[in-house]
Symmetry: C2
DNA sequence: GCAAAAGTGTTACGCGTACACCCATGG
DNA sequence: CCATGGGTGTACGCGTAACACTTTTGC
């Protein structure tokens, strides 16, 4: 036990709630735990902070190691630290909230986790630790930010049609939207650029393809 | 050094940015550091997490110990963890954002801090660690929540006049508001109850005294 | 009666909402 | 020519914003 301190120190981990859209549903990335405690149960991807590593770097590294997912929108969510939240020792978990676009949601299970898979939010398995609570808060954050920011764009590939964008909003807000009103509103924000291309997909009129003018920036609107 | 671990552990602290209204200004509570590093410089009240203590309890305890301030509105702000943010060792700081009403802002310096004092936000001294950045984010949180919640009530005593409440909003939003529109809006939210009392303060018509119907609950509005 | 803050209504404008039909393509 | 999703304009109502005078008190 070579690392010694004058006062007790908690361990620090990061955990990430990654959402994507698959099969017209909002889905969440979970890993099956390969080690105790909670071996065999599903949990958020995450792990221990290295001593010289930034918090956000840790979240991204663990995510990539365990699931192969990288290059995504990520923001800090909340820090959980109930003294009894982990049976091993006192652990503070700095949690993150992330979104991946549907064009790069291939996952591959990594070494630390026996398995990684997308789960529909309404059929989540039982979760390890306090991860159900973390997911709850992440969902609330996503719902709130959908209303006042352009975070929804982070769930789409770099180019998309207005119908695809509308579909994202409909899934996130869980309601159908009027096509004309949606287009009027989204175009009035001046955040979209026409690529000039059209997408022909099936036996109907082709759709104009748009891209976010500033794809990496989540704007605050309203 | 009796506390030993197999892997290195960072230390965890909490720091709190407490705001109040004094002299018609938004002010922030700082303590002068009595120990190295940054001895003699101003910093946010805060300190090390005890191993069996909840994060929010730690923030409240340190605040009370160092400044005597207790019984306030407090919420988690952000967790700061740049590897080099503290010269002693790796320290993760879970920061909190708090508001105290103007009727209980008496402070007394505690044992850990040589001195505690309120500072105007536009004349802040140089700050220890990355505390300037923390304060920046706390101010942004306050400004944002002013617009969509009833957080402003937390800066007033339990009873107040509508003019006093309007003044809080004017200071927080840094603009003057129309008296009739403000009253119409705030009353339409149905969050206020008339006490039936009136406040006579000077040579003019006395003002009706109101209280928040649900004083401890910060409502999300809009 | 004068100074000083409390209290009170009406109008105008813009934004969000509701709503139905034609267009381009593939088969 | 038919099925499918893409694309377009107008009218109404509500909520926000602008705006000035009367009331009550202390001195």
């Amino acid at each position: 036990m070579p690392y010694c301190y004058e006062y007790p120190h908690p361990a620090v981990t990061t955990d990430v709630a990654v959402f994507t859209l698959r099969q017209q549903q909002l889905q969440l990335l979970l890993v099956r735990r390969g080690e105790d405690p909670y071996r065999g149960m599903w949990a958020l991807p995450g792990g221990f902070l290295e001593i010289d590593e930034d918090l956000e770097s840790c979240a991204k590294r663990e995510l990539k190691e365990e699931t192969g997912v990288s290059d995504l929108y990520i923001e800090q969510l909340f820090t959980f630290g109930r003294p009894d939240r982990d049976p091993r020792e006192r652990i503070i978990s700095v949690t993150y909230f992330a979104l991946v676009p549907s064009n790069k949601l291939e996952i591959r299970a990594g070494s630390d986790a026996a398995d990684a898979a997308w789960h529909s939010l309404n059929t989540l398995p039982e979760l390890a630790f306090d991860h159900a609570e973390i997911i709850q808060q992440a969902q609330e954050r996503l719902a709130a930010k959908t209303l006042y920011s352009t975070i929804a764009f982070q769930l789409l590939p770099p180019t998309f049609t207005l119908s695809e964008l509308q579909s994202v909003y409909e899934i996130l807000r869980n309601e159908t939207l009027d096509k004309r009103n949606f287009r009027k509103w989204i175009l009035s924000l001046n955040l979209l650029t026409e690529t000039g291309e059209k997408r022909m997909s099936g036996n109907h009129r082709p759709a104009k393809i748009y891209q976010a003018t500033n794809p990496d920036h989540v704007e605050i609107i309203r």
